[in-house]
């Protein structure tokens, strides 16, 4: 009974004639179930790739990536004998402006015209930061170290940098760190330090 129905009930759609279905050229066009639709994924190789990617990315992982704001305006110089960057207030010096922790405090054009060595707005901000640090850390017994990070564009002239340094000095920040990119000949380990402290 069922065999009989199989011959009678057919799917709607195009059907070739008997002669055409036997044709070598066109016969395959109307063949039913010619290609299997089940494709097996090569899971083993995919997992291998995933694991390698994870290992590579874990090696690249660094928790101190957000210590500096990277901007297009500041192209940092390269150095080989660098140490690990630590958290400290960041002064950014670009060709146009000087900012601290991302907030602009002066423009280069303004301070170029001044005769004073210090940059009053910067100095004031740094003093505020120092006060805030001392207030927060007063109970820790950890003294104020006077560390500051300077992230300057490599084309900035020294006369701007020295005024920034002088302002930092006046505000009580004596340990100045020039932020640099790992350059040629840099140590390959991510811990990074070739020099003694």
């Amino acid at each position: 009974m069922s065999r009989h129905l199989e011959n009678v009930i057919v799917k709607p759609g195009k059907r070739p004639g008997k002669r055409l279905s036997k044709s070598k050229v066109f016969g395959s066009k109307f063949a039913k179930g010619g290609h299997a639709t089940n494709v097996e994924l090569n899971l083993t190789s995919m997992i291998d790739v995933f694991v390698l990617l994870v290992i590579f990315l874990i090696q690249q992982f660094s928790a101190d990536g957000d210590l500096l704001f990277m901007t297009d305006k500041i192209k940092m110089p390269e150095a080989a004998n660098y140490e690990q960057l630590e958290r400290a207030p960041v002064i950014q010096v670009s060709a146009d402006e000087i900012s601290i922790e991302g907030a602009r405090v002066a423009t280069v054009a303004d301070i170029e015209g001044e005769e004073y060595w210090n940059i009053p707005a910067l100095e004031e901000k740094l003093r505020d930061q120092k006060k805030a640090y001392e207030m927060v850390r007063s109970g820790d017994g950890e003294g104020f170290k006077g560390d500051i990070n300077i992230q300057a564009d490599k084309a900035v002239p020294f006369k701007i940098v020295k005024r920034v340094m002088y302002s930092a000095n006046q505000a009580g920040y004596f340990n100045i760190n020039f932020a640099v990119l790992a350059g040629a000949g840099a140590p390959s380990d991510s811990e990074g330090s070739k020099t003694e402290g």
Binding site: L53, G65, N169, I176
Partner: protein, 155 residues
């Protein structure tokens, strides 16, 4: 799902099936999530610092400094001017207009060899000198094993 079967142990009417399915789907999910997280938090640029002190600022060390040579290095438009005590030597810029860092390291290492206790150097620069040249110079001083680099704002 991946399956693992131990040949010869099934089909004997044994006590317990030893076919084991390792659930790969959650494992792949976890790997995919880890990759996404690590890609988002990846740091592609390695950043470091060159620590300098300002000439005239207080010193960190509690020990009294050992008597050493007064070593000054000045960056001018012409090149380096290295002063070690009473001696002074000029290192001209290279033909391409850049500072000759290799020659500076050579001179500093020679001084260091004669004065093994020497750790300090004071770097000064003319106003027009680019920050990149200053950083290169500090880097070269560190390379020559002079870790206490002071940068003087005054010329």
């Amino acid at each position: 799902m991946a399956g693992v079967s131990v040949p010869g142990s099934g089909g004997n009417g044994g006590k317990k099936a030893v076919d084991l399915n390792i659930p790969l789907v959650p494992f792949i999910d976890m790997l995919a999530m880890m990759i996404t997280f690590l890609m988002m938090t990846a740091v592609w640029t390695q950043i470091g610092k060159l620590q300098v002190s300002q000439a005239g600022g207080p010193s960190d060390s509690t020990e009294p400094p050992k008597p050493t040579l007064q070593l000054n290095l000045t960056l001018t438009e012409q090149g380096y001017k290295l002063t070690a005590g009473a001696d002074s030597v000029d290192i001209a810029k290279k033909a391409d207009g850049t500072f000759d860092g290799a020659k500076l390291v050579e001179k500093l290492k020679a001084i260091k060899k004669d004065n093994p206790d020497q750790r300090a150097i004071t770097v000064m620069a003319e106003d027009s000198i680019q920050y990149e040249s200053l950083v290169l110079t500090v880097d070269k001083c560190l390379e020559a094993d002079l870790p206490d680099v002071s940068v003087s704002a005054a010329m």
